[in-house]
Assembly symmetry: C2
């Protein structure tokens, strides 16, 4: 089969690779229907995370079950399945608590920009759709496997409630899906911090009521102007930099909440400042598996259409161009079709 391999910053190649095989009785192998490039893939691509040796890339996927191990009974060959970037047995103590992305048998997927993918813990990880969905739904189902599930978690971690005011920091695919989530969870006012016109447009389409183009403390001041001077009930931090975290914490009102889903890079939180802010903070890799049945249903009934974040669609063999377009901000997110 063929798949993407990263060798060095800005050096992603499309190569012939060994076909994945069932290694454990809990594995499945899927034929990829669609995969994509994630904002977090750009960290190593930009040289901001070390690449010790060349390795495959990709952790988002929807596809058709090709083969299952002997212990996998919940899905069968031919079914269309949606998964998550983190595998989960869905039976351990953490899974039972709803934290499948902290499963005691978790593996982070990392080989999905390819024709075929081995899925560990397939029984707990994969959710099959009722029937094979029309191809028009594939982008949204693919989004559910990561960015939409992550935006959903950000909104829940930020405790968005009906009638509340939400701020979204970050206008990437996750932030935009966070807008969808905030709206679905009943936020009355959704303020997005963005200075990119196409992303602002999509944010508004998804339900944003206000756009703030200022950054840092100036941006925070604009949030306060819109929130009786005290800040927002809920803030979704969808970037992962120290500046974005600072902005998020300062934009939340006393007693408000920040949900942070951008993997933090060199972020330290001052305990005393957090203390006096009264802001609640929760982050992490989204437990996407917990939300899959609900989010698949919202997609298939047309309630949400997160697939719109894919503004570039390329054949899988052009994966390198997919990275380039996102790196240069020519694309919000690149979908890849094998």
């Amino acid at each position: 089969m063929r798949g993407a391999v990263i060798y060095a910053p800005r050096d992603v190649r499309f190569e012939n690779l060994d076909d994945p095989k069932i290694l454990q009785p809990t594995d499945a192998v899927i034929r990829t229907a669609a995969t994509c490039v994630c904002g977090s893939d750009l960290w190593p691509y930009r040289g901001l995370e070390p690449i010790d040796e060349a390795h495959p890339m990709g952790h988002e996927y929807v596809g058709f079950v090709e083969e299952v191990g002997s212990e996998v009974t919940s899905v069968e060959p031919g079914q269309f399945v949606v998964g998550s970037f983190a595998t989960s047995d869905n039976t351990c103590a953490n899974c039972r608590n709803g934290w499948q992305s902290n499963c005691l048998n978790r593996e982070f997927m990392s080989t999905c920009q390819a024709d075929y993918v081995r899925i560990p813990q397939a029984q707990g990880t994969l959710v099959a759709t009722d029937e094979v969905p029309d191809e028009e739904f594939w982008p949204s189902l693919l989004a559910v496997s990561d960015v939409m599930g992550t935006g959903w978690y950000a909104a829940l971690a930020a405790e968005v409630k009906p009638g509340s005011t939400a701020v979204v920091v970050g206008d990437g695919a996750v932030g935009l899906c966070g807008v969808i989530a905030a709206k679905e969870l009943g936020a009355e006012r959704i303020i997005v911090m963005s200075r990119h016109e196409p992303r602002q447009r999509l944010a508004r389409e998804f339900g944003a009521t206000d756009i703030i183009t200022e950054r840092g403390e100036e941006g925070v001041a604009r949030v306060k102007d819109l929130t009786d001077g005290i800040g927002a009930d809920a803030v979704l931090e969808c970037v992962g930099t120290a500046q974005a975290m600072q902005q998020a914490l300062h934009a939340a009102r006393p007693g408000g909440n920040v949900g942070f889903v951008g993997v933090p890079h060199e972020v330290a939180i001052d305990g005393q400042e957090l203390f006096f802010s009264h802001v609640g903070l929760r982050g992490g890799p989204a437990p996407v598996r917990r939300y899959l049945p609900d989010l698949i249903e919202r997609v298939m009934t047309g309630r949400i259409d997160p697939g719109k974040v894919f503004d570039l669609v390329l054949p899988l063999e052009q994966v390198a161009e997919g990275y380039r377009a996102m790196d240069e901000r020519r694309a919000i997110k690149t979908l890849l079709k094998p």
Copy 2:
């Protein structure tokens, strides 16, 4: 009148001071029925917080209303009142959200180890009991004004729920009141980290089911032994040191919560570690005012008896000895009677 003044580390004097007066129409003056020494008073006492100039001390109080300003209508002279270490108008946006300790007109009380005390924002700050309570209730009502209210907030911030497992880090008065709170909120298992026998005894009396004497990562390992290997649902951090915060964060299960109420001293939280832990975190000065009616009711009906944390009662003029006894850990908490 007479009151405590701190001059330097370990130099607390009892002196003649000017009688407090109504300065604002929103003020009241109370005659102190009981006051006490707080764990946080020990920070400057031990030289761990700077003392720029000599100043009065104390922020916990119950007393009798002596005089009220022209805008204070909710309490009247002669009534017995309970307040909080933070004043609140109880009408601003933050108060309406339930965050009275972040009131836009907040002042932190600081002159309560004295015969009389001026209470700013008395209308929103003070809650009168139905009638003057018997003196046996005064210690518990005094505890409600700070340590019990703070333990209550710690348990709520840690999201203690019926059936959950709670860990209390810190066996001071706040931690012990946290045990009461966890029990009242329905925790099934309450694990207290303590190596002081008298405090262990009181913790058990308040509802602790397990005591852990190990500290640091060893203590965390013991918590995991008791919690299916994953950690506790709810952790109350009642100290404020970097070590205690670390211990608290590590003792919480993925998706669990840490409520932190010890004022953090040189505490920095690593963003990436917090991220991958999935632990939720909320702290701050407790919004005691929010809980006063409920906690007063629980005291007056005999449900809770947080006054037991006072294991030393002294006349107010012996305030210096009250500090010494706590500094040397001869007393958990000193009650002072004018």
